[in-house]
């Protein structure tokens, strides 16, 4: 019998520090993986932490880790050439095929950018696969902006908006909550456009409401929940919402289902 709790070793190929507390680790991984899925990354003796996949490439995955606790602080001590223990990938992830040939809007806030980074990267490189692509990315302040390298690329798409909730005087970029920019989106066909929203719970509810108000069907809205995913196997119970385990059935949910889930 396989021990599903047993992690494997994965080599750190590259470390890319965004801010003092946010690093992206490129990890050796050859298996099949989808954006939106996550790994349980661990330092033995310190613990495991669920980290969503922020980038996918040939033979590697990228994990953006925010230093917020014991495990992540310990992960930050590691450098290229060293290894992490990992289990996964877990969760359903985003099904990119669903968006192909349709207009796609991605709204992401803060660390919520991480799980959709793979989605944005994919369609930024393959604009032809969608019928229009808008991205609204929000951070709390200019200092909190993540993935500056990626954003530089994403900016080439004229449907891209980067906003900060607030900034000190002299900041020339866009300001305000992400919801402020939803009314500006031009829909070609409101009935088929696909919306992906990832961020803090209240931000997702507010954004979904704004799209529904504009006439987007609930079934075309996708969100990704962040909960306490600990075992990744639907057993430990911590991430349960109603009869769904976020680690198994999610983290990506269709809004028509997600709105019935109770914490």
């Amino acid at each position: 019998m396989d021990n599903l709790y047993k992690p494997f070793l994965s080599k750190i190929l590259k470390v890319n520090p965004h801010t003092d507390i946010e690093y992206t680790f490129r990890m050796e991984y050859a298996g099949e993986v989808k954006p939106g899925q996550f790994f349980e990354v661990s330092i033995p003796k310190y613990g495991e932490a669920p980290i969503s996949i922020s980038g996918i490439g040939d033979g590697w995955v990228e994990l953006t880790i925010r230093r917020v606790g014991k495990v992540t602080s310990e992960l930050f001590e590691s450098s290229e050439g060293k290894s992490f223990f990992m289990r996964g990938p877990y969760g359903n992830g985003f099904d990119l095929d669903l968006y192909k040939g349709k207009q796609l809007v991605v709204v992401a806030g803060g660390t919520g950018v991480s799980p959709v980074r793979g989605v944005i990267n994919h369609f930024s490189r393959n604009l032809g696969q969608v019928d229009g692509f808008s991205v609204i990315v929000g951070f709390r302040s200019p200092e909190d902006i993540l993935f500056s390298d990626d954003i530089a690329l994403w900016k080439e798409n004229k449907g891209f908006t980067l906003t900060v909730d607030h900034a000190s005087e002299g900041y020339t970029g866009s300001q305000g909550m992400v919801t402020k920019y939803i009314p500006d989106i031009q829909f070609k066909d409101i009935n088929t456009a696909q919306i992906v929203i990832v961020g803090p719970p209240r931000m997702m509810t507010a954004c979904a409401g704004a799209f529904i108000e504009r006439g987007v069907p609930e079934e075309n809205i996708w969100i990704s929940h962040e909960r306490r995913m600990s075992c990744g196997l639907g057993k430990c119970g911590h991430c349960r919402m109603s009869h769904k385990y976020v680690c198994l059935d999610g983290p990506v949910f269709n809004y028509a289902d997600a709105k019935h889930l109770v914490d």
């Binding site: 019998m1 396989d2 021990n3 599903l4 709790y5 047993k6 992690p7 661990s42 330092i43 033995p44 003796k45 310190y46 613990g47 495991e48 932490a49 925010r66 917020v68 606790g69 495990v71 992540t72 223990f85 962040e226 909960r227 306490r228 600990s230 075992c231 196997l233 639907g234 057993k235 430990c236 119970g237 911590h238 349960r240 109603s242 009869h243 769904k244 019935h260 109770v262 914490d263």
Partner: protein, 337 residues
Amino acid sequence: MAYKISESALDAIIAGLSAQCAVYAPRLLAGWGTSSDVDIVGYAKIEKGSQIAFDKKSMYSFKEAILPISQTLFYFTEDEMREPRPAFAQAVVFLRGCELHGLSRLDDVYRADGKLDFYYEQLRSNTKFIVIGCEDGFESCFCESMGASGVPACDGYILSRGDGYVLISNFDELTDLVKAEKAEQIDFTPVPAKNTLKVNVPDEIPEEVATSPIWDEYDARCIICGRCNFVCPTCACFTMQDIFYDENVNAGERRRVWASCQIDGYTDIAGGIAFRKTKGERMRFKALHKLKDHKGRYGRNMCVGCGRCDDVCPEYISFSACVGKVAKACKEVGGNG
């Protein structure tokens, strides 16, 4: 096959079993209560039949025998991780009928979709389960209402009667021991337990019940100690813990411990976020899991009506009373409860 056996024969049979494997049973543990000079029934190893507590319900359920409260998953040294040896190779667990129904709920979670839990399976699949018959049940029991009063197929059955015991054996090791005692064979069919407490259990709970005001009273009543979860034969949640040893920081272990959805920290995620802050929300989360959400996933109610959470609650919060409140709330929101 059913046999009539005496007290001394039972002693000999259990002694024989415990020579072959670990035997766990509800047992009166002297001074084990929270208050002084209070004896309570808990799960412990036994060597004799007379150590089985037939006349009292155990405070904690059988589950600790196959799902240890604190279980090491891996031992770590500098470059290696090693799984520990299981707590036992073979075991026999005596348990009440409600608890055997509880086992099926644990199976729902730990064996879901063929994704077997390695550690659970190690112990569970090497355990024989013998049901201790309840004819009348205890004051707080409501297994009948929860549809868990019958005796499911099991490895054995024992009933304490005025004139000794009725023992049904469904496995060879036990049958051999029973035969060695020259026990008299009898015709016997276990009957479902009967309860005086009857609870109206709703078939379907509309989602509006989640926002019903019935949960508010628990904000003031519950002390979020988690006892209800820990005594429950169906609560399956656990929390992972990694540690290094003080004496040698290069070695350590990863373990899992029972978790309680009532206790602070259960929903905490990085960045200081928690999802259910009020006690009422936590009670609602637990109650709806037992009565709705587990069923939504696995097709049967999680709660088996054993009443252990009622018996243990220091604040006298009764789960059976809560079930009644849920049923009433279902009617109020127009459900078919």
